[in-house]
Subunit: 242 residues, 8 copies
Amino acid sequence: MLEGVRAGTVSPNDALERLSELPYRDLGFARVDLHRELRQGAPEAVLAEGKTPEQVAQIFVALLEGGAGSVLATRADDTARAAVRALVPDAEEDALARCIWVARAVPDPRGLVAVVSAGTSDGPVVREVRIRAELLGTTAAVHEDVGVAGVHRLATALPDIERADCVVVVAGMDGALASLVGGLAQGPVIGVPTSVGYGSAHGGSTALNAMLASCAAGLAVVGIDDGLGAGTIAARIARGRE
Amino acid sequence: MLEGVRAGTVSPNDALERLSELPYRDLGFARVDLHRELRQGAPEAVLAEGKTPEQVAQIFVALLEGGAGSVLATRADDTARAAVRALVPDAEEDALARCIWVARAVPDPRGLVAVVSAGTSDGPVVREVRIRAELLGTTAAVHEDVGVAGVHRLATALPDIERADCVVVVAGMDGALASLVGGLAQGPVIGVPTSVGYGSAHGGSTALNAMLASCAAGLAVVGIDDGLGAGTIAARIARGRE
Amino acid sequence: MLEGVRAGTVSPNDALERLSELPYRDLGFARVDLHRELRQGAPEAVLAEGKTPEQVAQIFVALLEGGAGSVLATRADDTARAAVRALVPDAEEDALARCIWVARAVPDPRGLVAVVSAGTSDGPVVREVRIRAELLGTTAAVHEDVGVAGVHRLATALPDIERADCVVVVAGMDGALASLVGGLAQGPVIGVPTSVGYGSAHGGSTALNAMLASCAAGLAVVGIDDGLGAGTIAARIARGRE
Amino acid sequence: MLEGVRAGTVSPNDALERLSELPYRDLGFARVDLHRELRQGAPEAVLAEGKTPEQVAQIFVALLEGGAGSVLATRADDTARAAVRALVPDAEEDALARCIWVARAVPDPRGLVAVVSAGTSDGPVVREVRIRAELLGTTAAVHEDVGVAGVHRLATALPDIERADCVVVVAGMDGALASLVGGLAQGPVIGVPTSVGYGSAHGGSTALNAMLASCAAGLAVVGIDDGLGAGTIAARIARGRE
Amino acid sequence: MLEGVRAGTVSPNDALERLSELPYRDLGFARVDLHRELRQGAPEAVLAEGKTPEQVAQIFVALLEGGAGSVLATRADDTARAAVRALVPDAEEDALARCIWVARAVPDPRGLVAVVSAGTSDGPVVREVRIRAELLGTTAAVHEDVGVAGVHRLATALPDIERADCVVVVAGMDGALASLVGGLAQGPVIGVPTSVGYGSAHGGSTALNAMLASCAAGLAVVGIDDGLGAGTIAARIARGRE
Amino acid sequence: MLEGVRAGTVSPNDALERLSELPYRDLGFARVDLHRELRQGAPEAVLAEGKTPEQVAQIFVALLEGGAGSVLATRADDTARAAVRALVPDAEEDALARCIWVARAVPDPRGLVAVVSAGTSDGPVVREVRIRAELLGTTAAVHEDVGVAGVHRLATALPDIERADCVVVVAGMDGALASLVGGLAQGPVIGVPTSVGYGSAHGGSTALNAMLASCAAGLAVVGIDDGLGAGTIAARIARGRE
Amino acid sequence: MLEGVRAGTVSPNDALERLSELPYRDLGFARVDLHRELRQGAPEAVLAEGKTPEQVAQIFVALLEGGAGSVLATRADDTARAAVRALVPDAEEDALARCIWVARAVPDPRGLVAVVSAGTSDGPVVREVRIRAELLGTTAAVHEDVGVAGVHRLATALPDIERADCVVVVAGMDGALASLVGGLAQGPVIGVPTSVGYGSAHGGSTALNAMLASCAAGLAVVGIDDGLGAGTIAARIARGRE
Amino acid sequence: MLEGVRAGTVSPNDALERLSELPYRDLGFARVDLHRELRQGAPEAVLAEGKTPEQVAQIFVALLEGGAGSVLATRADDTARAAVRALVPDAEEDALARCIWVARAVPDPRGLVAVVSAGTSDGPVVREVRIRAELLGTTAAVHEDVGVAGVHRLATALPDIERADCVVVVAGMDGALASLVGGLAQGPVIGVPTSVGYGSAHGGSTALNAMLASCAAGLAVVGIDDGLGAGTIAARIARGRE
């Protein structure tokens, strides 16, 4: 046998078909991943945008029935949230953040996530970060509207930035707050570019590129307006491996 | 005479004008190509977007009257579909997929097209693929919402992926499912990037580029949300040359 | 148990680890996929660009030693090809196409691939398509420089376009040839946009977008300059399922 | 004095201020260029988009009162056209093309402009081209929906393409018709890319780039959907210098 | 028969194959279009970039042997030009413009093309415009470096701009000269954006977009640095239909 | 100690926390910067877009209560302006410019800002520039619709352009007016690209790039449609350092 | 006093000037941040690209003399590395990764970082990640060339992916490996898009966008080819807060 | 006569031809603007890139002979600078900044320009700003490498930032320093984005967009790497109107 060659007899489909033994629920239009929370500690979330209200509500219920510790639908407009409420009357919601959720069995909080934002208009994304991070079992400390145009407003946030296990910076337009915080924080920093602003803000691309090109090492970035992603990785970092 | 020179006496317009003997129907605002089905096996389809409802309906009827085996209008909103129904009461339609169609003389099915999608929101494009592929005389096997974030959901689709004459992968956002399937399938794979998602999904461009840059050889791609194109080439591949 | 829920006891990593029984060869810097040809009918090809000449040569040899029916390195500059030749003296090469290859056990040809190009400068990509298609066991009929600026030059290619099991159109700049052929061919058409041209050709993006936006249904596209990908899918289509 | 130096004593503003003797009408929010028709043969047109209906109507009237041979407002929605009609009851309009105009003293027609379009959805731009070209005193011959996906439909347009003093090609999506016609016509060809299509059509940028990258020499292009510009230059070419 | 239907019995390939009677010369890697000059008044030009020096030279010779009135190769570097000179010792060349050409039977000049450029760096493109326009039988009057940053330098060019049958504006960076001239000229204006400049000039895209978005109606644009295209259409306009 | 090393004992957060002694007002969703006017001479302005009407109104009031010399909300739609008026009945507003403001203690005017625009549609941005510049204590002289397509209309603006301490040029589409004025003015020129136009205007990016690539040295640019920014820097330049 | 107003007497510059007490070393062309390691646990790294070899070497030495635990220069070509070696003979280097470094006082390793890459060409970035992560005091487990085109090659990496405190995925082209791993890993995942590939890989932008648009929550991304950034945040996550 | 109509008898070309009395020197390939310094206070500068060394040197000399107070060539490589030195032996030069210049009659300095940069690699642009600003008669105070990743390094620059008549911020990558300084400075701020960095820095576009989207009002921006433009406008601001 050649050096370094690994070989076997199983066919790839045979191996992959063993995956079919992992649980999910087939709704026809959706295969709800009931295994994700077991596998990764965070349940599947429902991106409402692009789905009909009925689809959102049915996936929401399927996750609940499947035993999820929490269920969260994001980017859910009024109609989608109403469809969920019709089936899950005790769901909580935040209209500004377009979120609706149920907390069934949230882990005991561990770790601190500091969330700072550049401006008031970043508010909806800030809330999405906070909701997700808290549902995954961590504590969030929020400081809004502390952008660099008036840098003294950041001062009261510094103690939280310093002691947090993970800092999330939510900023649109120039995204400069991420670089500034990235040069001060001791823990990992997650940037969330937002689509706030007009013209040269290019729907969030400017902030995104600025965060990626920041010379503050120790900063990583999620997609534009992706509060869910930021909340998820921040909670995962803050809770650490058990 | 110089070596390699081909010469003749006909003028280009003379030659091209012989093309005018091929059939089409001139509605003034449209020249309906009644010859396409003869020439290529698939009748002209009607892209409703950008046309008035009346134009859509008249072109639809012209194709029917011209003897098309099937007629399909895509991206047809409620008004456009209503205009067609007013003239063609027996037309079938799918509101989510924004399609309306009539099957007059569909060829006997030959070949299998497996259609897999990454998420629920890809549903409308999946349906457009399926409708077109079936109208062109092939069988479609559909597996929705099997994206890589929960890869075990793909397992039950593997037998169809393995035996299909052509696999169509419908995916937005990162388009990663196309690469994964492209590394497993034995037959040709056609990717359909969708405009699903927000922010960094860039309206489908991210999925498109990812599919094009995939190192899975054996994968080709149609335009963003172009279910019609995918259904057409998939049927052509699956049916083979007769 | 809930309706539609699939469940099992295996862990995902357990299932995926069964994949480790499939053969590959570990060179440290590369894991050469010796299983691909078994799985998909086409051996892994070596993209030389971005690898050192030594890496290219060692992967090339590993594939040969692993029993590949053919081995092909693409986008290989003079140095890379020299490194391969040093280890595999009987390798064939095409300097213009920057390809080097060895045919050990090519399948008996089946099916016809017609390859047409818009201009002389598309030549290197045309050759890459042809080499790959032939190594995978199909026949290629090539017609170069038949772009729409002098459309009469296409005439002699029409019989091959008509009878081919798959047509590959290689074109840069405006990519218009793909649309024209896509409206004439009976079989599936694969477009290969090339980076030929300057200025508004945008390194192939113009041709790529034009091919994707073509209203010729039945046309799918591979990445810019990706002759390998086109050759692979064309051969797969032309040979059909056995 | 140094060789090649030109010198004088007038100040630049002195010279430019002599320009102030040319006529225009100052409405406060607009300086209506009453001199343009004298200077360039074509009166100023009114781009309605971005102006209030009242502004559109007042500029329209100012041009009429200033003695324009014709007045044309483009991209005028229902409200803007109603505002014009309220002041100029005999204005003609075309709702699909969003144009409204008055012909007071159109020059006797000279020259022929052939206008061909790729698809039905290009219709509104085709009409804008035609209206402008005719108002500037030329004859327009229109052939719609002759795109390359069914190239035989172009045949009946060939005689007009051949004898025209200028050919205007209106096409969205892949814009391939411009290349094909550009390789056949004897006269100058003006391409008008349109924003027709979705996804990879990129709002007209794909057609624009394809036309610019066309290897059909003798083809120049105006902005996306700019029927007015195409009609203007086509009339200028067709009429020639007197 | 349905109203408006055109029908016939010829197959499309039959019709198109009649095109094969038009002359071209097949060099294997190129099909040299010997018919273009007959068809469109301007012989095929050779874009040297992307071809080997040998290919350039052989196509050049094939055109000469085919009876072209003139032959011109553009974007030809030192090596390509040397290859042509080796076979065609009497070829003229311009190193800065990277052009090499032979004039065999240039039509008697008719019409005037005024060529104005914004800056010294636009010089190579200016020369390409001039060479092509003159080879096609028109007179060119050139005024270089008259950009708007020092607008008084334009003054001496105004008489030529006024009396020309076609004005060509060559400009990079902001492309503003095209708009200014476009508001003054009486004849058609062709803009040639150049890749001159750095940073925000974006390789010519800024000038291109500015020219396309100009509100000077009567202005059309060719591709970035495409002096050949501008020279061709300008000559066609200036000579008029005979 | 090493040469060039600066060292100290304070921690960065200690230093930055001293910033917390500067005044701002914390509304929870906003930290209103009451110190900005002291620090930079210009009070914080309120970008209404992206905020709820209630947020806009509360921030507006907080600035007033904090003693701002003037308060200005920009890009405020009808609802936002109504919310402000409900709390601040004496606020002035301009519906076309979407601005609402209160002048409490505007500095005595010093310096002259000349504002020129290319077209009528630039009007809303012109007004935003003027309002802001006047609120910051300078005089604005406005000349609208003097674009280069009819350059004689610029003549009457030349005296103001010549004597102004700062010239602001507001232009969309090709942005050419900025280059022309930039070559004539003696004082600094600030360009404001606007999102006026369609198609190749690319929402203002074309004008922006053209202004940045202008070879008129002495020209700087603010973001697309950013009348506020232009008004601020123009006032700062015109007033000079005291 | 108004509710929520914070006020103080210090001027912003007074406060910020206290920052000047933090240590740095002023080399004229550079202010070497000797405080960063104290403040953030990771010393400043030297980006060699864009600096002269002498500048790189002097900054390198200044950091060493300033007491850095380790010094690392990245993207350093042969000349830059030679300049460093001339002054710091005991520096280690990796030519493929273009890195040169000295480890003086690396913290005792804590935590595990798993680094997986899609292909051989990602090797240089993989090494940069590893070097940085190890210099910051963590353990790195590397698995190269496990991309999805041959997914079975990933199997042997799964145990490390499962037990790592942080997973770094290095991938160019389609970036699909990040999504797949992001759906399997329990810990946080950091994606590093690479500029590997050609054409539709768009220099890494395709991989970047795909990673950002991935629906695998728990994934954040650094800039294209930014191995340093990924190594830094991964080490920070893996070591946790002490 | 209609209200608001201005009219006259002069033709536009008559008026513009009076401009021809302003001085320039015609070198054939260049029309050297000898009037610019009179008109705008700053002599024409020579952008060497895109010109031959001989052209650069001749324009340089023409400006000197024409009486310019200073002459400056930028982006001049070794060859271009050598060509200038051959004709103008007393020219000063800066190889890193690629500048060569002669100061004949520089105005007495007036006003202060503070120039701050984010990193060492911005050095060449910093020097270009300084050279131009000083040649135009102002004083420049430079502080390099004070980017936000180590914000304490900015502290010693604050007094100059506070007292300057104009602040120039030179920064690549994220451009965040411009926003920070823009929130602190009292005078106008000019941002110069640089092409420093790789990957997501996008050749300076990221910094450019970030500066344009900054919410620090009072900040305007010049083109990427355009030190000349920044130096010119900064000097014009700092010197004020006399």
